[in-house]
Amino acid sequence: MTESLDSAGKLNLAYWMRLTRTLDDALVAMWKQGRGVGGTFSGRGHEAIAVGAGYALGPDDVVAPMHRDLGCYLVRGMSPERILANQLGKEAGVTKGRDANLHGLGDLSLNIIGFVSHLPQSLPVALGAAMAFQYREEPRVALTFTGDGSSNTGLFHETLNLAAVQKAPFVLVVENNQYAYSTPLHEQMAIDDIVVRAPAHGVVGEIVDGNDVMAVYSAVAAAVARARRGDGPSLIEAKTMRMLGHAIHDGAEYVPAELLEKWQQRDPVTLWEAALVAEGALSEATLERLRGECHDEIEAAIEYAERAPLPDPATIGTGVYAT
């Protein structure tokens, strides 16, 4: 089953991916210029996955993104201002200076669950959200992401097994970007496709081109629809490439240049923009304007975040417990 989008939807995907890339580029530039605090992650190469999957969810669905999913936070309504303020440790950040970079970017008013560093601890949490929807008979779905590296953990398997047994409305997107930090796939696992782990647990699995946003969107939308119908969980393996280092400090010299060159030909953001131009849905002029808008939006957000105040040390102890 293929879920399709009208032309407005297709343009929206282009906008969110361009906004994601613009913010990602800005983060990398700021950190290289010494304007960052601590470390940060780039999701360059993951835009189609993060945006395509996030866009496939309904407004009441819940998502638990990970550290490559900047686009998912944006498409689900978290503003660049709050994300940037968080990355700079500001009071106006999502975590009020309590958690770093993309960690902890949770906001239940946006149906976003924040993640902890320990991978893939978001998997069972998102599954629990799905189990809550199922228990209350609400037509809602929970989706989460994980990496190829994290798919080797016991928890990945425990979660898939539990999701299948519960027949929960749960969708897992595996972002296979060929590396876990410095470790290439063949040193991580003895299989070619992570998707084979899905049927082993009774979960529906599918491979998609993670650099084709429409392919990601369609596959995820179908999985979300299946979950919403009560037909249980799915796993989608989106194949892509991590185009920069593991995190900002990492030059990723261990990645063969040819591999990056190959994937660079299929950059997900420009690939989709070119496709829309080719099919006449987008003119070069509109595309130029879109890029300009994204640039201005992110520049304004940076200005806001850099000026925003740091947290007052007197607040350090507040919020450890819910009262």
Binding site: T95, P124, L127, G128, L155, T159, V320
Partner: protein, 328 residues
């Protein structure tokens, strides 16, 4: 009108589950073997399994880390899951989800994670190294969690009600040697006993024993023996370890001038170490003798009766230690 009945410690826990599941449809039970006609390894959930069925008392596959994580997800969505780990010893399989995810979430991004993990702990019933542990110190060391350890049937009920209603992740240690051996008055109804308030299990003037869980009973037994020497012992049952009622400790030590901390868990870096340090820092001026601690030995918990008995703190150890303190 509140009628006072006598219930076992186990039935008091079962009653709390039943009362709260009746009151709040968001409360569900998750665990291995908790449901169906079986009702849990110790039968604690049998009553609610019968009463509410599999939709609310849910058998989980042996995926402790996943279902403890799932409890966090359910809690974030407004439910109040109560997880049973079959033995407290197995809680280590869920450690990441407890101490990294659940404990930090409210501080990091302001979302409440109101679950309870019920952990049947403690030994003395010849269950060996992996079915006898008291792992509370791991969790008392973790900011963001609450940790309770009721010692009486009334507290077992009232504190489980409080734990389920609390908006934070709570680890509820139930002392399994007390399940069927201890009976006591338990109020009818649905009144919670607040977390963080100690109970004076016995009043006295000469020595303060700070304790919790099964060793409350060993301490009270020791106090009866010591009364024969003319020594009166005040036994403070902490009930809650995090938050801890430090005012109650200070008040008692100010009166008695002598403090002994007793717990069933091994002594090394146990909760008693924190309490002893706290007393030394905050009540040094009141002390007439060094603070003492009793706990399990710093070894894996052995199985065979003479070995396990040597490992565990006994009422006799408490009597002997108090005599030394009084003679100091």
């Amino acid at each position: 009108m509140t009628e006072i009945r006598h219930l076992t410690y186990l039935d008091a826990i079962a009653e709390a589950l039943s009362v709260e599941m009746e009151r709040d449809p968001n409360v569900v039970v998750l665990g291995t073997d908790v449901g169906g006609s079986f009702g849990g390894a110790f039968k604690v959930t049998k009553r609610v399994a019968t009463q509410f069925g599999p939709r609310r008392v849910r058998n989980m596959p042996m995926t402790e880390l996943a279902f403890i994580g799932a409890a966090s997800g359910m809690a974030l969505m407004g439910m109040r899951p109560v997880v049973e780990v079959q033995f407290a010893d197995f809680i280590s399989t869920g450690f990441d989800s407890i101490v990294q995810f659940a404990a930090t979430t409210h501080y990091r991004w302001g979302a409440a994670v109101p679950w309870v993990i019920r952990a049947p702990s403690d030994g003395g019933i010849r269950s060996g190294p992996f079915h006898s542990q008291n792992p509370e110190a791991w969790f008392v060391h973790t900011p963001g969690l609450k940790v309770v350890a009721p010692a009486t049937p009334a507290d077992a009920k009232g504190m489980l009600l409080a734990s389920i209603r609390d908006d934070n992740p709570v680890i509820y240690f139930e002392a399994k040697p007390l399940y069927r051996s201890l009976k006591g008055p338990v109020p009818d109804g649905s009144e919670a006993i607040p977390i963080g308030v100690a109970r004076i299990a016995q009043e006295g003037d000469d020595v303060t024993i700070v304790t919790y869980g099964s060793t409350v009973h060993d301490s009270v037994q020791a106090a009866a023996e010591l009364a024969g020497d003319g020594v009166t012992v005040e036994v403070i049952d902490l009930r809650s370890l995090k938050p801890m009622d430090t005012d109650a400790i200070l008040e008692s030590v100010a009166k008695t001038g002598r403090a002994l901390v007793v717990h069933a868990a091994n002594r090394m870096a146990g909760v008693g170490a924190e309490i002893a340090a706290f007393i030394a820092e905050e009540a040094f001026g009141h002390l007439d003798a060094p603070v003492r601690r009793l706990g399990g030995m710093d070894i894996p918990i052995p199985f065979s009766p003479p070995l396990e008995d040597t490992y565990r703190v006994s009422a006799y150890d408490i009597v002997r230690t108090v005599r030394e303190m009084v003679a100091w």
